[in-house]
Amino acid sequence: MPSPSRLAGLLRDGHFVVTAELSASNSADPEATWRRAEVLRGSVDAINCTDNTGAHVHISSLAAAHLLVEKGLEPIMQLTVRDRNRLALQADLLGAASLGVRNLVLMSGDDVTAGDHPEARRIYDIDSMQFLEVAAGMRDRGLYLSGRKLEQAPSFFIGAVENPFAPPLDFRPLRLQKKLRAGADFIQTQLVFDVPIFARFMAMVADLGLLDKAFVIPSIGVPRSARGARYMKEKVPGLHVPDALVDRLEKTAPARQADEGVQIAVELVRAVREIRGVAGVHLIGIKWEEGVVQVAEAAGLLPRPTLSPLATVGGRG
């Protein structure tokens, strides 16, 4: 069976994939999205377009993903259940499919209180688990949640997220299993700074027999400064940043902190790559796509493999 996307094809062929997060623009000019995305061309296999990340408003993930498709870059469209009810979510999925978007990552989303509109009404009409099932239903059964038939079913490669570092730690692998049952094909994790905790999580995932059922892609952050690392440690919910990492950056001269951040990320990439079941890495350089490229280069992840165009579903629909 042809893969729905290049990313899916690479994973199914056993390649160690590299994805990266695109900093979402705040500009009405598409060039703002293209400029940042072009930095990543050739260094990553697919690019995540975030959905109001951290509950701050940015360009919609659907629009950004479509802009990437126009330029021949492969997007992964993130969509949260925070801002839309089940009607809007399904409409956006179908719209995305019609615009050539194939990879999805579906999630709950950071709460509105974490963002720049804390007074907003949160939606959460369905949860992330149910959203996965809804997307899989559109794809596999050609049905809306209501049971009404689609004229043509979308072809999706469906992703979900998991946070191996947030309590209850022992439930996290079971939750991952639940997401796979709901329809997830691949998993991108929360940022991994603490490798032993992540390794324990992966061992539990392996014990559940899930390694051949899903591609697990840990996120690796590229810290640009000690200040940034401290902010992540203290302010971002669900993120686990060890003291040793912040100390290491704080002991580095400010002019050299970005280089040290790249070095830390490279070490993390190498460490997670040793763990059984890790299918790739998702690199996140916050508003720093150049850092992502430096990490890909220094970690020996370049050049990226090519895939025969015949191996994926071509065109739209």
């Binding site: 239903g137 049971g147 309590p167 209850p168 939750r175 709901a182 919910p237 669900g238």
Partner: protein, 124 residues
């Protein structure tokens, strides 16, 4: 609302609110959540915790409150009968049932009704 439903609600509502902090969604799944009402989660999550749970086990949204799902997981470990029900995929909430009696909806099986496009064998 029928007289019967009013009478049932007069018992059910105060009782469940007092014991479980029930939010009267009308489609109770307490046995799948270690006897913790999932509708107390600010994200209304019915299938497990979000990724924002704090290291101390408290809620992303209310830092001084314990995450409903941390309690649900620990509670489920203590249940003799429904221990594994926390692993079942729960169907989307039917918001038409908000405020109605889950006891009546249980008896007449109204709480089992899922949207027609929902995968039947994924249901609990």
């Amino acid at each position: 609302m029928s007289v019967t439903e009013r009478l049932v609600l007069a018992v059910e509502k105060p009782l469940k609110e007092a014991i479980w902090g029930c939010r009267m969604c009308g489609q109770c799944i307490l046995h799948s959540t270690g006897l913790n009402c999932p509708m107390r989660c600010p994200k209304n999550l019915r299938n497990g915790p979000c990724g924002g749970v704090r290291a101390d086990g408290n809620c992303e949204v209310y830092p001084d409150k314990r995450c409903v799902w941390v309690d649900a997981w620990e509670g489920s470990r203590r249940l003799p009968l429904w221990r594994d029900h926390i692993e079942q995929l729960q169907k989307p909430v039917d918001w038409q049932l908000q405020g109605t009696s889950s006891w009546i909806n249980l008896v007449n099986r109204r709480d089992r009704v899922a949207p027609r496009g929902w995968e039947p064998d994924a249901e609990s």
